[in-house]
């Protein structure tokens, strides 16, 4: 079911979007937030559960100190104030994803508050910096995962129930909430994408989470409303969930702006509701209408004592923060001798850490950028995945570049090696061996192909003899074709010229 949409330009001509983003980050701690169960992704269902995270009677939670430390470090990196004293709260609701019948969260006393993150977005007038203000970042726990059976899925006819896995219940989460973001206008979708991307880079830089959107360790909910002008009161908002890639952040906002604008233009009121983004069809559909069912009866968690980070602890953590991504990118730009625009394309492609890792494995900066932004970005795009999800490591890319540098492969052969690595055939050198990929450096084999090429194209050969060196390209091309790309083009050119007396 698709809703009527109006053209994006028309949306912008008539409406002003206001955005709010809620990002949930699963921390990369070894154990859960309030118990010692492991947090490993992909474990067999219900093998990482204990009385505490199952909410069994008599169990008591104890806070994971590393999770608190991570929360403070995230807050500091987002320029937040850190609460000198705060408590956990119970968010009461009855749904099988939380066996305790409440989620331990924070309510009116978040550990981090009032910060910001600056993001750069390409606009018609060049790069513009948007400041995304952070309202709060608080600590909570993740919920279990439900697998719904029956109904529309029809796996078991007539069945209508859910199967629940509590491995994820209790994994430390940080929820980062922005203030309403105004004034982005037509760039709202790009600003949101840039913010989530910058946040991901920052969290990865802090080493607090693996920030894998496709595995759900970074999740984004998008609040959006439209108003007729920046002076008009805020419109009714919708909250879109299930936005699980950077690309989806942009697409979902664009879609929701077009959908809401169509309704408002038609004189229909927006319903305040939760909507679900569908990556495959690129639409949002109505979830549940916000109602008094969302009456969580928050109260201070009586089983946990307050968290009161000392000023010394906070300052110690502040002094150990890594270089902020924006400053790091400026420094690297200078080291690599590239323009701001080139650097931005590295960052936008989600390639910065991959390029750095490849350099650390021995490749030079230019070659590292070339592979990740060229061939590999193309592969990722074709597969519709993030660059980092490709089945090739920074070390493998560095090894590949090493094979090119040593003269064993040219770029064309290297691309075939990439095919092999992505297909799981092994390390680059092994793929080159097993696929028999190697530049033909044996001159006699090349000369044979050159002689054949000269015979096949006497006109070109005569031109070269007459000193028109530009005609070499045609002969080199047919030699490369004859050798299936396995020749070193520069060497072929030398030999062609030599053969024809140049």
């Amino acid at each position: 079911m698709s809703a009527p949409l109006i053209d994006f330009d028309e949306v912008i001509a008539n409406f002003d979007p206001v955005l709010g983003l809620e990002v949930h980050v699963e921390l990369g701690t070894a154990s859960k937030m309030f118990c010692g169960c492991a947090t490993e992704f992909g474990a067999e269902p219900n093998t990482q559960v204990c009385p505490t995270c199952l909410g069994l009677p008599g169990s008591l939670p104890v806070v994971n100190g590393t999770a608190v430390e991570s929360a403070i470090r995230i807050g500091l990196a987002l320029n937040c104030s850190i609460a000198s004293w705060c408590r956990f709260a119970r968010k009461n609701y009855f749904y099988p994803d939380m066996p305790k019948n409440f989620q331990t969260s924070q309510y009116d006393e978040p550990i981090c508050f009032e910060g910001y993150l600056d993001v750069d977005v390409e606009t018609d007038e060049g790069t513009r910096t948007f400041r995304v203000e952070i309202e709060r970042a608080h600590m909570e726990e993740d919920t279990g995962k439900s697998l719904h059976v029956g109904g529309s899925t029809g796996r078991i006819h007539g069945a209508d129930f859910s199967l629940v896995d509590y491995n994820r219940a209790g994994i430390p989460l940080i929820e980062i909430v922005t203030k309403p973001l105004e004034g982005a206008g037509k760039y709202a979708p790009e600003v949101a994408k840039a913010y989530v991307g910058a946040l991901r880079d920052l969290l990865r830089g802090l080493g607090v989470s693996d920030v894998k959107m496709e595995q759900g360790s970074l999740r984004c909910d998008v609040n959006l409303s439209l108003r007729t002008s920046p002076d008009a009161p805020l419109g009714t908002r919708t909250e879109t969930k299930n936005v699980n890639s950077l690309r989806s952040v942009e697409r979902a906002i664009r879609y929701e702006m077009q959908r809401q604008a169509a309704l408002l233009t038609d004189g229909t009121a927006i319903i305040q509701e939760t909507r679900h983004w569908h990556e495959d069809t690129g639409v949002t559909t109505s979830g549940r209408v916000k109602s008094d069912a969302e009456d969580y009866r928050y109260f201070p968690e009586p089983d946990l004592v307050p968290v009161a980070p000392s000023a010394e602890w906070i300052e110690q953590l502040r002094s150990q923060l890594p270089e902020p991504p924006a400053e790091r990118s400026k420094r690297l730009r200078e080291e690599w001798g590239i323009s701001e625009k080139e650097m931005q394309s590295v960052i936008n492609a989600g390639a910065l850490d991959l390029v750095l890792a490849t350099i650390a494995e021995g490749a030079d900066p230019a070659a590292s950028r070339k592979w990740w932004l060229g061939e590999l970005a193309r592969r990722a795009n074709d597969e519709g995945v993030e660059l980092e999800s490709l089945a090739i490591t920074a070390k493998q890319v560095a090894d590949l570049e090493g094979l090119v540098q040593s003269g064993r492969l040219n770029d064309k052969l290297a691309r075939q090696v990439i095919d092999g690595v992505l297909a799981g055939e092994g390390e680059p050198a092994a793929v080159a061996d097993s696929r028999g990929l190697q530049i033909v450096s044996d001159d006699s084999a090349l000369l044979e192909a050159i002689t054949a090429a000269i015979e096949a194209d006497p006109d070109a050969a005569q031109k070269i003899r007459d000193g028109k060196v530009a005609a070499t390209g045609a002969l080199v091309g047919s030699v490369m074709k004859a050798t299936k790309g396995q020749a070193d083009a520069a060497r072929v050119r030398e030999l062609v010229l030599q053969e024809l007396g140049q």
């Binding site: 010692g36 559960v49 199952l54 806070v63 299930n242 009866r297």
Partner: protein, 98 residues
């Protein structure tokens, strides 16, 4: 005026997914009202400069190290569930969501 109305109790029951009869709603409204009125008497002695107490002892920052401890055996966990399937708890479907 009572501290909690019959409608409040009905609302709480619906949030908690508990089905109550008309008689129970009336009974609980009366009983809860007695409890709330008793607790409310604390506010008569608490001055504005006394922060709300959530713990009897003034302790903060009780943390544990981030160390994994053994989890429960899955079979024994699921044995206690009313229904299980494929290593998971089987529960009635509640919201018609994805």
């Amino acid at each position: 005026m009572s501290a909690i109305s019959r409608d409040d109790v009905a609302h709480l029951a619906s949030l908690a997914r508990i089905e109550l009869t008309e008689q129970e709603l009336n009974d609980y409204a009366g009983q809860l009202d007695v409890i709330l009125t008793a607790v409310a008497s604390i506010s008569e002695v608490a001055a504005d400069d006394i922060p709300p107490t959530t713990h009897a002892v003034p302790v903060v920052n009780v943390f544990r190290d981030d160390v994994v401890t053994p989890s429960l055996d899955r079979d024994s966990v699921l044995d206690h569930a009313p229904a299980a399937e494929d290593g998971r708890f089987r529960v009635p479907r509640i919201l018609d969501e994805e």
